[in-house]
Amino acid sequence: MRMRRDLAGFLLAILVAAAAKNCAAQAAARLPGELAWTIGYDPKTFDPAKVDDVDSETVRYLTAGVLLRYNRLTQAVEPRLAESWSLSPDGKTMTFHLRAGLKFSDGSALTSRDVVWSIRRVLLPATAAPVADEFVAPAGVRVDAPDASTVIVHLPQRVVGIGKVFDEIAIEPAERPSEGRVTSGPFFVADYQRSQSVRLRRNPYYALRDASGAALPRASGVRLDIVENPEQQIRLFQRGESDLIDRLPPDIYELLRQKAPGTVRDLGPSLNTEQMWFNQAPASPLPSWEKTWFQSQVFRVAVSQAIHRDDIARVVYLGHATPAYSFVSPANRAWYDRALTAPRTDAAAARASLQRAGFRYQGTQLIDAAGHPVKFSILTNAGNDERLKMATLIQQDLAAVGMQVNVVTLDFPALIERLMHTQDYEACLLGLENVDADPNEMMNVWRSSSPNHQWNPSEKTPATAWEAEIDKEMDLQATSTKDAVRKTAVDRVQQIVAEEEPFIYLVYPNALVAISPRVEGAQPAVIEPGLWWNIEDLRLRGAR
């Protein structure tokens, strides 16, 4: 009998062992010379004109042949399929001269006809291409091809940074869009296994060559594994099945720094900001006294003064973040305003100014002039560890000036519904990602009539004098042709925002990346896609 029981135990052990062998999903085998990294979700579309999510954008960036490329490191616009390009002095006529002998990845010739067709397709309302909005008035744009290698684009009005817009327009074969299967870019889509991987293969006819005349891209292909769990992403990287990781969380950065030294890099402050703001919309269902608090500049500044941004950078980001007081990051050297003055952390000053503004203390609790205790909630999105920690730190910081804060995490659709549709929230903590160094990109955040004017969306007329002034300065920077005028206008907006604090900026998180030592040619930049913006130059060490 006893032996039988031992046998049963033994059997159990065998079962466990057998199951353990049955390993987790492994990445597909790597082809020679193929780069690999992970993306979080399935790309929603492979049609380069219809891209409206980050993962599709990654595929488009790697496959699309573009006339111009925005160099993420130098922040200059460089010709790609175009050999040269020019913009008329009034900023309304662009002329592109194509390279000679351009071909698509299937070997067919690429002429100005394909370019005209591709640009027109993007502009058509029926395509609903997000990039069309960047032309400001897409309906008025005319595209002509005087000969087989020249394309002229006539704009109805001047558009700031128009060159960068062409970084997002893929040139496809006229009349036969292929969803990335036939491209004029460095790679084309070779295989897609839903929820598993996207495989891109090198375009043998790609026009670009390096200084020594060797054909680009250097890598034979790219495999994008679709992996949602960040832990899994790290493990794939450590096992050598993935070569790059973008946007490392700070704690994982520290872990990799110890476990795989030499693979991680801190690129310094990114262009992104983390901020919190109060709901100032008059139409929100909040009680009237809360609206009065949130619309009061003194209140917002006091909150800002009570927050210890240094602690956020140190506790939440383990030192990999920089305290923020403006929407322009110090990484953005051209636009960062060094002369900016903003209220600094000072809880005593916050208490004093609140009391001057009619608030008083009952014990440690702050109450307003009408006797309402100052209590509010901060919303943030669920699943973001950093934001939850920031909100918890702020909770304690604000308790020190007598404000009671409730932290609530919601899933994104529910959160967005409150922010954009019902306005049923008090304060929110989120980040803003800047894909471009030029502040013109933030036009729809600052213009008071925009639905993305978060603290009070879609205002019919500016609700306050300072919002009117921001509108004016933003319009000025969008229309002026002089860089100095634009810089002064943006500096002024930065100063107004720092004084009025509609957004209370918290930190600029640093750009943290991991690059496998096998990868050659990486020049990480802080502007997206910072790791593979120079995909043509990336290759695996040792691979031909």
């Binding site: 159990l12 466990v16 929820s195």
Partner: protein, 285 residues
């Protein structure tokens, strides 16, 4: 005659279930916050396009009966409606994942039952140290699935099947060990043991038949356990199965996909229930 009647009854039951689940899910998803919002609305580049998409969806889903009619139409059409996220028929998304999830479920159920039965038998027949046997099962129940997944990744071995099997085993073990112990201590088994009847004979002749119905009920319960563990396990291990699809659909309020997956799960649950029910039905008749 009796057979046709019972078949008809099962069919009616399945149909009622499908209708109720369909109505319930449509209502739940439509009324949940965020049906008509999208994280990309905050993105300056995509905001306008996304708002246009949402407006279209808003017009389409103004009335729940209308939505419901559209779902039914999709099902009659055979493609289960068009996915809101990916713009392809839901059936196309589900088909390749069925086999993946089916395999995962089957293997982990078998393995889990293997674990649980072996451990429960050993535990039931030992007079002492019952708590010692409970400890590993308790340990497994106390660790969140996400943590197990991370531990597996760190250890470099073990995968979705193991984690799910262990979860099922831990739960079932709690039930099985109690049932077996009770059976083991029945007077007739005491007598049998005293007479030295072999273990295998006792199991097949006395214990299994006595516990038949309860075991069948337990099987249904473990399927429910497995189904509820499916989503976290698949998401954490990046298994391209129905669970991760359902999670993705839920987070993006993709009603057609979600509905299709929910119905599949409902059918799985109800058929397991009927399977377990057959024996008792028989005894009653």
């Amino acid at each position: 005659m009796k057979l046709t009647f019972s078949l008809l009854r099962s069919l009616a039951r399945a149909l009622a279930l499908v209708m109720l689940v369909m109505i319930g899910s449509t209502l739940l998803v439509r009324l949940a916050p965020g049906y008509l919002s999208d994280a990309r609305e905050m993105d300056a580049r995509y905001g306008n396009t996304v708002r246009a998409e949402l407006a279209e969806e808003g017009a389409r889903s103004r009335s729940v009966p209308q939505m419901f009619a559209q779902e039914i139409k999709g099902w009659l059409h055979g493609d289960a409606g068009v996915s809101r996220q990916f713009g392809v028929p839901a059936a196309e998304l589900i088909e390749p994942r069925l086999a993946v999830t089916g395999g995962l479920l089957l293997r982990s159920l078998l393995l889990g039952w293997g674990f649980a039965l072996t451990a429960a038998l050993v535990a039931a027949t030992r007079r002492r140290a019952r708590l010692l046997w409970q400890a590993p099962a308790t340990l497994l129940l106390a660790i969140p699935t996400a943590a197990m997944a991370t531990l597996c990744l760190l250890a470099g071995s073990g995968g979705p099947v193991l984690v799910m099997a262990l979860l099922i085993a831990a739960r079932d073990f709690k039930f099985l060990s109690r049932m077996l112990r009770r059976a083991w201590l029945e007077p007739h088994l005491l007598q049998a043991r005293a007479q030295g009847i072999r273990m295998r004979r006792m199991l097949t002749m006395y214990i299994a038949p006595a516990l038949g119905a309860q075991l069948a009920a337990l099987a249904g319960l473990s399927l429910v356990t497995a189904l509820s563990a499916l989503v976290p396990v698949e998401v954490l291990f990046d298994v391209p199965g129905l669970g991760s699809l359902a999670w993705n659909a839920a987070m993006n309020r993709d009603l057609p996909v979600l509905l299709a997956v929910t119905l599949l799960m409902a059918l799985a649950v109800t058929s397991s229930g009927m399977l377990g029910g057959q024996t008792t039905q028989g005894e009653r008749a």
